[in-house]
C-alpha cells in the first residue's frame, strides 16, 4: 500500500515535471516573443510617429475635426493616438502569437479570430477617419455657401450635412466591424429617416417665406429692385 502511494506520487511528480519541462520552453518562447514584440512594436511606433509628423497628419486630423474630438475627450494628439494604437496592436499581436505557442486549447481559436479581425479594424478606422474628413469638408462648404448666399440659419444647414454624412459613415464602420449588424441597420434606417423627415419639416416650415419671395420675384418681378442695390466687385 505504502509503496503504491509512493509510486503514484512519484509518477504524478514525474508527470508534473515532464509537463513543466514540456511547458517551460514554450513559456520561454512566449516571453521571448513578447519581448521581441515589444521592441518591434516600439520601433514601429517611433517610425510611424516620425512619418505622421513628416506628413503633418495632425493638420489633416484637425481638418477632419478629429483633433477637436480628441481634445474634448482630453486625449493626446491624433499622431500620438495612432502611434500608440499601432504599438499596442503590434505588441498584443506578438503576445497572442506567444500564447498560441503555449498550445492551450481554446485560446488558439480566439487568437486566430483576433488576427482575422485586425484587417477589418484597420479598414473601419480608415473609413472613420476619412468619413470625419468628408463630413468636416462638406459641412464647412455648405456653411460658407449658405452664408454667402444669405440663406437663413446657415449653421443648421451645415450641421444637417455633417449629421447625414456621419450617420452614413458610422453605419458603414459598424457593418465593417460586424458589430450588431441587424441593430445598426434598423438604427441607421430610423436615424436617417428621422433626419430626412426633420429636415423636410424644417425646410417646409422655415422655407415658406423664402419660397414666397422666390415666387414673387419670378412672377411679380421684384428682381429689378434688388439689382439696383448691387455693385460690381470688378
Amino acid at each position: 500500500m505504502r509503496e503504491m502511494i509512493i509510486s503514484e506520487l512519484s509518477q504524478a511528480l514525474h508527470e508534473i515535471a515532464r509537463g513543466f519541462a514540456h511547458f517551460l520552453p514554450r513559456l520561454i518562447v512566449m516571453l521571448a516573443l513578447a519581448l521581441a514584440g515589444w521592441v518591434i512594436a516600439y520601433v514601429a511606433k517611433m517610425v510611424l510617429r516620425s512619418i505622421l509628423r513628416l506628413v503633418q497628419f495632425d493638420k489633416l486630423s484637425e481638418n477632419a475635426g478629429a483633433s477637436q474630438l480628441l481634445t474634448k475627450a482630453a486625449l493626446p494628439s491624433a499622431t500620438e493616438m495612432l502611434s500608440r494604437f499601432v504599438f499596442w496592436v503590434a505588441w498584443l499581436g506578438f503576445i497572442l502569437l506567444g500564447v498560441s505557442v503555449l498550445g492551450i486549447l481554446g485560446l488558439q481559436e480566439q487568437v486566430a479570430k483576433f488576427f482575422l479581425f485586425l484587417p477589418r479594424l484597420f479598414v473601419a478606422m480608415f473609413i472613420m477617419f476619412f468619413g470625419l474628413l468628408a463630413a468636416s469638408f462638406f459641412s464647412r462648404a455648405a456653411l460658407l455657401a449658405a452664408v454667402n448666399a444669405n440663406v437663413p440659419s446657415p449653421r443648421v444647414l451645415s450641421l444637417a450635412v455633417r449629421s447625414i454624412i456621419l450617420v452614413f459613415v458610422l453605419s458603414i464602420v459598424f457593418e465593417e466591424l460586424g458589430l450588431a449588424e441587424q441593430t445598426m441597420l434598423v438604427a441607421f434606417g430610423i436615424a436617417f429617416g428621422a433626419l430626412m423627415l426633420g429636415l423636410a419639416i424644417a425646410f417646409g416650415m422655415g422655407g415658406r417665406d423664402l419660397a414666397r419671395r422666390f415666387l414673387e420675384k419670378k412672377i411679380v418681378g421684384g428682381k429689378k429692385e434688388e439689382e439696383e442695390d448691387e455693385l460690381s466687385p470688378l
Partner: protein
C-alpha cells in the same frame, strides 16, 4: 549641345505640344494665315448680342491704327450655342471701311475655334498665346466680348506702346464710378502695389495688350494644368511681367461698361483675383519679399478717372451679411485669423449702422492673415477665399460711408491712404510668412 541648339530643341518641343493641344482645323487655319504682326484675341461664350459690334470695332481699330500691318482676329469660343463663332467669322471688313475711310493694305484674317464645350478662361488664353507664338505675332491684344462701349482707339492705345515704345505689357485704366470695382480698389490694387512695388490700377482686366516675347515666355513657364482651370490667368500674366522685369505701362481707355456683372459674382470674382494673387505669393516670395515702397508705371492718359453719379446701395443689407458672416463663420475664422483680429471683427459686427466702422488697418491685417493662412492651407484654399467674402462686404460698407459725399480727389485720397496702409503693414505679412517656416 550649344545654348542655341538647346533653345531650338526646346522651341520645337513647345511647338509640338501646342500642335497637339490645338485642333487640326485650327492649325490649318493658322497655317493659311502664315505670319502676323498683330493678333487680336477674342474669347467668347454665348456673346451673340455684342460680339458683332465688337468685331466691327476691332476691324475699324486695325484699319485706322495699323493699315500696313498683318493682322488676325482669333476668336476662341467656349462652346457657344447662340451662333457667336459664325457671327465673328461672318463680319465683313467692308462694313468697317466706310466708317474709317481707310483701307487695309494687307488681308485681315478672322479665325474662330472652339476650344471646349464649356468656357474656361485659362484654356482660352492658352489657345490665344499658342496661336500668337505659331504666327510669330509681334504684338497681341485681348478684347472682352462683355464690354459694351469698346472704341476703335482702344486697339491703338493697347498696341502702340508695344510697337512704338517696346513695352511688353499694356494694362488699361478706365473711367469708373467711384463705387464700381470695389474689390480692385480695396484689395487687388493696394495689395499688388504693396507687394510687387508697381502701381498698376487694373492688374486683372479683360482688355490688355502684350508683346510676342512676353506671351511666349508666359506660355512656356506657366503651369497650365494646375486644377484651377486657369482662373485669373490674366492677373498671372501681369505678375509674371513684373517679376520677369518686363516693361509694363498703362493706357487710359475710357469708360468701362460691362454687361452681366453684379454683386452675386463676388465669390467667383474673389477666386479669380484674390485666389490668383494669394497663390502667386508662394512662388513669387523671393521677388516680393525684397520689394520696398512702390513706383508708378509709365501711363498714357489719366491713371484713373472717377464718375460721381449717385447710386442706390443697400448698405444695411451689406452690413447684415458681414455681421451674420462673422457670427456664423467663427469656427472657420479661428483657423484663419489671429485671436486679436477675430476679436476686433466680432466687436465691429456688434456695432449699429451709424457707428459701424471697419478700419483700414484692421482690413489690411485681415487680408494679410488670410494670405498667410492660404499659403499654409490651414483649411481648403477655396474655403479660405469664400470666407473672405462677408468680411469684404463689411469693408465695402465702410468705404461707401467714407466716400458717400466725397468728390473724386477725396475718393482717390482714401484709396491712396489704404494703399499706404498695405505698404506700411507689409512687414507684418513677412512676419506671418516667416513664422510659418
Amino acid at each position: 549641345m550649344s545654348t542655341q541648339g538647346r533653345t531650338a530643341v526646346r522651341r520645337t518641343e513647345i511647338e509640338l505640344a501646342e500642335e497637339s493641344f490645338l485642333t487640326d482645323d485650327f492649325l490649318r487655319q493658322l497655317i493659311n494665315v502664315g505670319e502676323a504682326d498683330i493678333l487680336v484675341g477674342l474669347p467668347t461664350h454665348n456673346n451673340a448680342k455684342t460680339v458683332g459690334s465688337i468685331v466691327h470695332t476691332i476691324q475699324s481699330g486695325i484699319l485706322r491704327g495699323f493699315p500696313r500691318e498683318r493682322a488676325v482676329i482669333i476668336n476662341v469660343d467656349g462652346g457657344s450655342r447662340d451662333g457667336t463663332p459664325e457671327l465673328v467669322t461672318g463680319v465683313s471688313i467692308d462694313d468697317s471701311r466706310p466708317a474709317s475711310n481707310l483701307n487695309a493694305l494687307r488681308t485681315l484674317h478672322s479665325i474662330s475655334t472652339k476650344y471646349a464645350s464649356s468656357p474656361e478662361s485659362g484654356v482660352a488664353f492658352r489657345t490665344i498665346l499658342a496661336a500668337a507664338e505659331l504666327l510669330r505675332a509681334k504684338a497681341c491684344v485681348v478684347m472682352s466680348p462683355l464690354s459694351t462701349n469698346v472704341e476703335p482707339e482702344w486697339l491703338s492705345k493697347l498696341l502702340h506702346p508695344i510697337f512704338d515704345d517696346d513695352f511688353d505689357l499694356v494694362t488699361p485704366t478706365y473711367r469708373r464710378h467711384k463705387f464700381e470695382g470695389l474689390l480692385i480698389t480695396n484689395l487687388l490694387y493696394p495689395m499688388t502695389r504693396a507687394l510687387y512695388g508697381l502701381r498698376i490700377r487694373e492688374a486683372y482686366s479683360p482688355e490688355f495688350g502684350f508683346s510676342g516675347r512676353l506671351g511666349c515666355q508666359f506660355l512656356e513657364q506657366y503651369v497650365w494644368n494646375d486644377g484651377a482651370n486657369g482662373a485669373g490667368v490674366e492677373l498671372r500674366l501681369t505678375l509674371a511681367a513684373i517679376t520677369g522685369r518686363y516693361r509694363v505701362c498703362q493706357s487710359f481707355l475710357g469708360e468701362k461698361i460691362h454687361i452681366e456683372r453684379h454683386a452675386a459674382d463676388l465669390v467667383p470674382a474673389l477666386r479669380q483675383t484674390v485666389g490668383t494673387l494669394f497663390s502667386a505669393l508662394g512662388p513669387d516670395f523671393a521677388v516680393w519679399s525684397m520689394v520696398a515702397g512702390s513706383q508708378s508705371p509709365p501711363t498714357t492718359g489719366a491713371d484713373h478717372e472717377v464718375v460721381l453719379e449717385p447710386v442706390r446701395v443697400n448698405r444695411k443689407r451689406l452690413r447684415e451679411m458681414f455681421s451674420t458672416g462673422v457670427a456664423e463663420l467663427e469656427s472657420v475664422f479661428r483657423s484663419i485669423l489671429s485671436p486679436d483680429t477675430l476679436a476686433e471683427l466680432q466687436g465691429i459686427a456688434r456695432l449699429g449702422e451709424e457707428e459701424f466702422h471697419y478700419p483700414a488697418e484692421l482690413w489690411v491685417r485681415t487680408v494679410y492673415e488670410f494670405a498667410a493662412s492660404y499659403q499654409r492651407s490651414v483649411i481648403s484654399r477655396d474655403h479660405i477665399i469664400q470666407a473672405l467674402a462677408p468680411l469684404f462686404r463689411g469693408r465695402v460698407v465702410t468705404f461707401l460711408k467714407e466716400n458717400r459725399n466725397a468728390f473724386a480727389d477725396e475718393v482717390e485720397n482714401n484709396i491712396e491712404s489704404l494703399c499706404l496702409e498695405f505698404e506700411r503693414l507689409k512687414p507684418y505679412l513677412l512676419q506671418l510668412w516667416k513664422s510659418r517656416e
